[in-house]
């Protein structure tokens, strides 16, 4: 059952991204270009998604377990750390330069074109760099307690 749930979630997530327009870097950059020809359509992607996740997380917080009764641990909602701020800022620069965030990066690499492949390889290298430089110094609990 577990693998089927995860596979289905991944499939629906991927279909949603493809339909939403998030896999078109030009459209993402147009959304981020608030001082230019701003295209706010992509705000509806986040709006539509959060409209569904709000009640789902409300249920999760209230009941503390999955629909199948398995224990459910939610990420820390409060602690603000320098890592959170610096990491998010660095991600923002990369996102603003490219118009591609991690989900779309994986999907568009499947086009087989060299640009998205080079981009995804660089994302993987950035992840590896973090692992080598910093991950070993952070408390072990952090890796599991967060939005990952």
């Amino acid at each position: 059952m577990g693998p089927l749930i995860a596979f289905t979630a991944g499939l629906v997530f991927g279909i949603g991204l493809l339909i939403s327009g998030m896999t078109d870097p030009a459209r993402v950059l147009a959304f981020l270009d608030v001082a230019g020809a701003w295209n706010p359509a992509l705000a509806l992607v986040m709006g539509g998604a959060v409209a569904v996740t709000l009640p789902a997380f409300a249920y999760a917080r209230r009941h503390g377990h999955t629909l199948g009764g398995a224990v459910l641990t939610l990420p820390d909602r409060k602690t603000l750390t320098p890592q959170l701020l610096i990491g998010s800022a660095l991600f923002g620069i990369g996102w603003g330069l490219s118009g591609v965030c991690p989900g779309p990066a994986i999907l568009i690499a499947l086009s087989g074109q060299w640009q998205p492949l080079l981009f995804l390889a660089s994302v993987a290298a950035g992840i590896g760099l973090h692992r080598v430089l910093l991950a070993s110094r952070e408390p072990a609990a952090k890796a599991t307690a967060d939005c990952s």
Partner: protein, 138 residues
């Protein structure tokens, strides 16, 4: 196009809800991908592999309906692709989340931490676009 974006968003939210209420996991792509890339997705983390498998099956399903393989317009210079990719990879790991983990899931969970992360990466991304398009490029 507006309806399409909204519908795509609803599907993304639905996927996150399925993973949360079905498996008790957070649909954060950077976390899932990061764990798989660094080889930490074994045994109890195997759900990540299944999620990713479903994720990359999406374009295959799209191919069945549209008869077209996905194509993308990403015309940046190689150096820019590398720098941007490194920042996205490193930044999402340090900040423990991206548009999905902090955005779709964190905002849905009314997380103050995620709200701050989203405001920072959206704000910085908008500033980056402003600088590259209107200050340097313009």
């Amino acid at each position: 196009m507006l309806l399409q974006s909204l519908f795509g968003g609803v599907l993304i939210g639905l996927a996150a809800a399925i993973l949360l209420l079905g498996q008790g996991k957070i649909a954060g792509i950077s976390g899932i991908f990061g764990n798989v890339v660094t080889g930490r997705a074994r045994s109890e983390g195997a759900w990540r592999l299944w999620f990713l498998l479903g994720f990359i099956a999406a374009p295959v399903l799209a191919l069945v309906f549209t008869h077209r393989w996905l194509q993308v317009q990403l015309d940046h210079a190689p150096a820019l692709l590398i720098v941007a990719g490194l920042l996205v990879g490193f930044g999402t790991q340090l900040g423990s989340g991206c548009t999905s983990g902090h955005g779709v899931c964190g905002l849905g969970n009314l997380s103050q931490r995620s709200l701050v992360a989203v405001l920072v990466f959206m704000g910085v991304a908008a500033i980056t676009v402003f600088v590259t398009r209107h200050l340097i490029g313009g």
